[in-house]
């Protein structure tokens, strides 16, 4: 305990330099998780609703921030202690290995913050520390009722109003939005098509913004709708420049498709290992399904490790990152199919498995969320393999 505390002080004082490598840092995180009573209380914990889980895990975020651990891997400008994304990847991996659930806002951070650092450092400086500490929650607001896969057809409008803007329209499928304080939102500021789009950071707690959660098939309120009626946007809330929204969104997607896959594979290794602790009469179909799931998981893990390394070197990822997303879909579906098969009828019947069941049901969305499987396949075919665009 003493040794850990002194090392920890070192982290907060010295930043990423305290650890020679992400692996050393992971060992430090692991020692902290094992020695801290607040962390130990979260091991294996599950909550009956997403909202209850969000409250408990925001406490986790606060502790990890105050103790310095979650600040590694983020630049000082944004409240971090320096170091590259590999440190964040190591934190997720270590939390999963200790069966502590990863707070959903960490996933949002992975997607939204890198884009702020590049395209709106003033906003990163002002808001990201609170986001990292769990004092604030943000959502991503891209899709609309008539603009899903065809995102560039979105219609939510931003109109100039004095120094700032006014936003009117409707967003949907926005993860965690009913718990969120702000949203990174893609709006139309100009002509139809890709060129008329702008990315902004909008406050959700204001007149003209109404948020309604949507209950998903697993019973939880994973996402929601946002109704915008003349909502106010201050002039300094544009991410990137006016009309640059599509490019900013594409920059964001490389993180959504790369870093997210790494985070997920850590979770899946733990879930699969936990399923194997149950005594069941494993038939040949069971072994085949587990073997297949594991092989796909291994492919996902090595591919996304490579991608996180590339992101850490600040390489710009191209359309090839859709390969990561497609490997994620294959692995996610295969792992949960194997778990369900392995646990047999009890999986569907026994209340003991309620939490796992809801995770399983959520996995059915893997080929849909974050850009559908069909869109990703089209990107790989046309942009990676060079097949002709559709007529």
């Amino acid at each position: 305990m003493t040794e850990v505390s002194s090392k920890l002080t070192g982290v907060t004082d010295l930043g990423a330099g305290s650890f020679g490598s992400p692996a050393e840092y992971a060992a430090g995180v692991a020692a902290f998780l094992r020695s801290d009573a607040r962390m130990q209380a979260l091991v294996g914990r599950r909550w009956p609703t997403l909202e209850a889980s969000a409250v408990a895990l925001s406490e986790l975020q606060r502790v990890l921030f105050d103790e310095g651990w979650s600040r590694l891997g983020w630049p000082e400008l944004a409240g971090g202690l320096g170091g590259d994304p590999r440190f964040r990847a190591a934190l997720f991996e270590t939390l999963s290995e200790h069966d502590i659930l990863i707070p959903e806002p960490y996933c949002t951070l992975e997607i939204l913050v890198p884009v702020l650092l590049v395209h709106a450092p003033h906003l990163a400086e002002r808001y990201v520390p609170a986001l990292l500490r769990g004092d604030e929650v943000w959502a991503q607001a891209f899709s609309e009722p008539d603009a899903g896969s065809d995102l560039a057809s979105l219609r939510t409008r931003m109109e100039p109003d004095g120094e700032g803007w006014r936003i009117t329209g409707q967003k949907v499928w926005s993860t965690y939005v009913h718990l969120a304080d702000r949203a990174v939102l893609l709006a139309r500021s100009g002509e139809p098509g890709h060129r008329g789009l702008t990315m902004v950071l909008l406050d959700l707690h204001q007149p003209g913004v109404e948020v309604r959660p949507i209950r998903a098939e697993d019973g939880d309120n994973h996402f929601g709708e946002i109704f915008l009626d003349d909502a106010a946007l201050p002039g300094d809330r544009i991410i990137g420049t006016l009309g640059q929204g599509w490019a900013v969104a594409m920059y964001m997607l490389q993180w959504e498709r790369g870093a997210w896959g790494w985070l997920q594979q850590g979770r899946f290794h733990t879930r699969l290992a936990q399923a194997l602790q149950h005594d069941v009469d494993a038939g040949p179909a069971d072994a085949a399904a587990i073997g297949r799931a594991y092989a796909r998981l291994a492919a996902l893990r090595l591919q996304t490790a490579h991608t996180v390394e590339r992101l850490a070197r600040e390489e710009t990822l191209g359309p090839e990152v859709s390969v990561d997303k497609l490997l994620l879909i294959d692995a996610e579906v295969a792992v949960w199919d194997a778990i369900r098969l392995h646990l047999g009828p009890a999986f569907d019947l026994d209340p003991e498995h309620e939490w796992l069941r809801s995770q399983f049901l959520f996995s059915r969305a893997a080929p849909i969320y974050g850009g559908s499987q069909e869109i990703q396949r089209g990107l790989v075919a046309q942009r990676v393999l060079g097949m002709p665009r559709e007529a």
Binding site: A89, A288, I290, Y294, A295, A298, L302, L327, V380, Q382
Partner: protein, 298 residues
């Protein structure tokens, strides 16, 4: 080995491996100064060799010499390096004076080939040289299972590399064909149905390649097992989708496609087909009740 060096090696290897020649592959590689390439980075050199062999459907048995060399190294028995490997009653290549025959208990026998009858057979792939072998082992020296396991691990990732080479080439060729072939006034490659098939094949190939390279780098038998399972499945997926993209022309003798298909059948079966290997992976995980993680972020 950096990416540029690897690309250069690939370019150098392509004509050598594509050559239809009776000279043994080892002799042709020697002329390239292959030993120096291997000394620099054995894992990636061998990986690139097998991948390229897959891409150009290189003739000549590379697997037999690789297995024999690994047995020789693991057992400290240099003479075993020239032996012919016999798997499931088939010799990989012409019979040398010595044979290596894995036994049912996991050990591997080193024995004289003098008591063996070998009969050349025509396998599904005409450029794979195998003989059916009959006879019993006389005075074999049995090497421990660890020696054969070591050889199998190397063989599996090498075969994995060759299978991903096939999968890659099959997709590249199908992409080219579907860009040229027009129906309904447009290239058939613009149809989503075909795009998605080839995209799937590409994704599985990239996923498999990553695990193959990890297995080559680490030498882990477990990783090699997973690598071969993924690569075998990727090759089958690529061939299935490519064949559909070709339509009837891909079903002709004249078209090169069936050669890739045939070769992939042989390679997938050697040292465990992907369906069997998936079951094997599952059985081991069920027995250990643990899910090991491969590699990590460097």
């Amino acid at each position: 080995m950096d990416l540029d060096t690897r690309e250069l090696l690939r370019k150098t290897l392509r004509p050598v491996l594509a050559e239809r020649s009776d000279r043994p592959l080892s002799e042709r590689l020697d002329e390239l100064g292959w030993d120096d390439v291997v000394a620099d980075d054995a894992a990636l050199a061998i990986c690139t060799l097998f991948e390229t062999k897959g891409e150009v459907l290189g003739a000549g048995d590379a697997l037999g010499p690789l297995l024999a060399r690994r047995v020789a190294d693991a057992a400290g028995m240099p003479e075993a390096a020239d032996a012919t490997v016999v798997l499931d009653g088939f010799a990989l290549g012409p019979l040398a004076a010595t044979v290596l025959v894995p036994g049912a208990d996991g050990r591997v026998a080193v024995a004289s080939s003098s008591s063996f009858d070998a009969e050349a057979v025509e396998p599904v792939d005409e450029h794979t040289q195998v003989c059916r072998v009959r006879g019993s082992l006389t005075d074999p020296t049995w090497l421990p299972a660890s020696v054969w396991d070591e050889a199998v691990a190397g063989g599996r990732w090498a075969l994995g590399a060759e299978l991903t080479g096939i999968a890659h080439q099959v997709v590249v060729d199908a992409v080219a064909y579907t860009a040229d072939r027009r129906q309904y006034g447009r290239p058939i490659g613009s149809f989503q149905a075909l795009q998605h098939r080839l995209a799937n094949a590409h994704v599985s190939t990239v996923g498999a390649r990553g695990v193959v390279e990890e297995a080559a780098r680490t030498g882990s038998a477990w990783t090699a097992l997973v690598a071969k399972a993924l690569a075998g499945a990727a090759a089958e997926e690529a061939c299935t989708h490519a064949q559909q993209c070709y339509g009837a022309i891909g079903f002709t003798w004249e078209h090169s496609f069936h050669r890739y298909l045939r070769r992939s059948y042989i390679l997938d079966r050697l040292l465990g087909g992907w369906r069997e290997l998936e079951v094997e992976i599952g059985r081991r995980l069920l027995a250990d009740r643990a899910v090991p993680k491969l590699g990590g972020i460097a």
